[in-house]
């Protein structure tokens, strides 16, 4: 378990009871996500709360993976890529995704067809709050996003072997019925 100290921004890794300082979060560049730690929402009738995030940046902008914990137990990710939202959770690696995926490649994952839509070489920009794994010193990592024909969504994180696979679907700000989000000057949701 890893967490960021809200006072000094140190990243702490909690392995059982030991806390070990492993690194410091760089100052955030301005970021536009309306979501923050403590934001609550409902996805498929499951209430959740946001407890952490990883911010990434790549050539074509930044995005956030917000770590969410469901009230009923279990965790997942709420991703916000230029205000397009998706909710996913990690699933075991699927062998049909082995090999190089190019944009436009179609893959059958558990009987459902997905098309690779974006290949991203991303940098970690920042972490915040509680994350379900230890922070590790990765600077560049490759992601592939895949989209289905019914709103379903897959993300592959190639920083581990086998890669990490997250499955879920696209959603909208309204659908999540969010509470305790950030309020921007002159804007109401």
């Amino acid at each position: 378990m890893q967490t960021t100290c809200p006072y000094c921004n140190s990243i702490l890794v909690r392995t059982d009871v030991d806390l070990k300082k492993v690194g410091q979060v760089s100052d955030y560049p301005e970021d536009a996500s309306p979501i923050q730690i403590g934001t609550e929402g409902i996805f498929e009738n499951q209430a959740f709360v946001v407890i952490g995030r990883i911010a990434y940046e790549w050539e074509n902008g930044g995005w956030n993976e917000w770590h969410i914990v469901y009230n009923a137990g279990g965790n997942g990710w709420l991703s916000d890529a230029q205000l397009e939202y998706a909710v996913t959770k990690q699933i075991p690696w699927v062998d049909s995704l082995n090999g190089q995926l190019a944009a436009g490649t179609m893959v059958d994952v558990g009987g459902k067809l997905y098309t690779a839509s974006t290949i991203t070489m991303a940098n970690y920009r920042a972490v915040e709050g509680e994350l379900p794994f230890e922070f590790w010193d990765k600077t560049v990592c490759q992601f592939v996003d895949l989209r289905g024909h019914d709103g379903s969504f897959l993300t592959i994180d190639y920083t581990e072997h086998p890669p990490l696979l997250f499955s879920g679907r696209m959603t909208t700000f309204e659908e999540l019925r969010l509470k305790n989000y950030r309020i921007f000057d002159g804007w109401q949701p």
Partner: protein, 452 residues
């Protein structure tokens, strides 16, 4: 000590590193590139150190119809205009341009407006990818929610080139950017696929009435009048399907009514007689024996069968009620001619004919008949001889009258036929502009080379 807070992004202004003018940044940190409104330089604003990406000398300036910074409501949400770009395609050597507006809401994200010749489309990113039924198919299907998938037809394939940029964009826009764009339509909806390098982006659109848009953004004046028919413009003529259904129903009802009329008609012979008429031989008029006309009010049809041969005869009738003396007068000319001329043989008229009168009450009647003929069949009147014709009279009570049904039926069919012609005429005009394979676009690039 308090937790470090995330700085809340705000709309701000920077000065253009090229011209020193003010560049407004309204995207709350979502914009990657912004084009200076004064000098049109494209700036990288994704990092605090703003860099010039492109600058232009003597760029042709275009004015957005909806000014940057304008806010309006679409789908119940407020959006602000952040960016404006003009894009162009080249078809058979001609440049066609349209404008696109980037709209922003810090919670709901981005949507876009496009305008071509007064036709507006409201465009948004889509959560699902459409799928095609097979390789080479010119249709794609989109499933959203649990409903039946919508089918979109490929309208146009073209290479779209960005020719003018102003304001902010959530991607790294450049003048000269090119994308292969495929537009699909299911009016008023549309799908667009844009392929650039190794990225494929789909978006969905809905035709938007200019007046509605002007109201939604509270713009002054009136929107430009739409020219021609746009690829996702809804057909203003309603589908004639329901009209055809109604017509089919009434046609069937009419047929049933006709059969009913036929069955319910009395249609019986009340009198029959055979006569000979000799023209110019004494008093021509005579009366028949009396006969019974059954029922209440009904029609009476007198059928005449003659042996007229290149001749005519006129029959004057009076149907007289034996009890009341009320007479119903009517007449009929029977004429039958034939011959042969330079065009071949011809005939005109018939030696059998009939006449019908309606509203005759039941009772006992007799018929007064007065035939009339020219004395001669030829023009040689002074040598004309009296001549004889033979004829039969048949009097039918309650003749089934079905011709009005056949007369009415075509009129019944006019509205759906007219409606279908209008609707399909509109579709024909729409699809006349279609270029699914992008053939025009490709031939243009080669012809441009020829011009150089």
């Amino acid at each position: 000590m308090t937790p470090r807070s995330r700085p809340l992004p705000k709309a701000k202004a920077i000065s253009c590193p090229n011209c020193g003018g003010t560049v407004e940044l309204r995207g709350l940190g979502t914009s990657l590139h912004a084009a200076c409104v004064q000098c049109l330089s494209i700036l990288d604003v994704s990092h605090p150190s703003v860099k010039i990406v492109q600058n232009f000398e003597n760029a042709q300036r275009r004015t957005p119809k909806i000014p940057l910074g304008t806010r309006g409501k679409l789908k119940g949400k407020t959006y602000e205009v952040l960016g404006f770009q003009t894009r162009a395609i080249y078809v058979e050597g001609t440049e066609y341009t349209w404008d696109e507006y980037t709209l922003f809401n810090p919670y709901h994200g981005f949507r876009y407006l496009s305008e071509y010749a007064g036709h507006w489309t409201d465009i948004e990113p889509m959560p699902s990818l459409p799928y095609s039924s097979g390789a080479g198919s010119t249709e794609v299907h989109l499933r959203e929610g649990s409903g039946t998938p919508l089918t979109f037809k490929l309208f146009q394939t073209a290479v779209a080139r960005t020719v003018f940029v102003m304001g902010e964009f959530p991607w790294r826009v450049h003048v000269g950017d090119e994308a292969t764009a495929r537009d699909y339509t299911a009016p008023p909806l549309s799908l667009s696929e844009e392929v650039t390098g190794n990225e494929v982006t789909w978006s969905r659109g809905r035709y938007l009435d200019g007046k509605q848009l002007w109201q939604a953004f509270q713009l002054k004046g009136s929107p430009p009048a739409p020219q021609g028919i746009y690829f996702n413009e809804p057909n203003p003529y309603a589908s004639p399907k329901s009209l055809w259904a109604i017509t089919a129903f009434f046609t069937l009802a009419l047929i049933v009514l006709m059969i009913f009329t036929w069955i319910m008609s009395r249609n019986e012979r009340a009198y029959h007689g055979s006569f000979t008429f000799a023209s110019g031989a004494g008093e021509p008029s005579f009366v028949t024996p009396s006969f019974e006309l059954k029922g209440k009010e009904d029609n009476v049809q007198v059928e005449l069968k003659t042996d007229l041969n290149n001749d005519w005869a006129y029959f004057d009738f009076a149907l007289i009620n034996e009890d009341t003396g009320v007479a119903y007068n009517f007449g009929k000319e029977v004429s039958y001619h034939y011959g042969r001329d330079s065009d071949g043989s011809w005939t005109e008229g018939d030696n059998s004919d009939s006449v019908r009168i309606g509203g005759i009450p039941g009772g006992r009647y007799y018929l007064r008949v007065e035939p009339e003929m020219e004395r001669s069949a030829s023009g040689l009147s002074q040598y004309a001889l009296p001549k004889n014709i033979h004829y039969e009279l048949n009097l039918i009570r309650g003749k089934a009258v079905v011709w009005p049904f056949f007369l009415v039926m075509p009129f019944l069919w006019i509205p759906p036929i007219f409606s279908s012609i209008r609707r399909f005429g509109f579709e024909a005009k729409r699809w006349a502009e279609s270029d699914p394979a992008g053939a025009g676009a490709y031939s243009s690039s080669s012809s441009e080379d020829d011009d150089d």
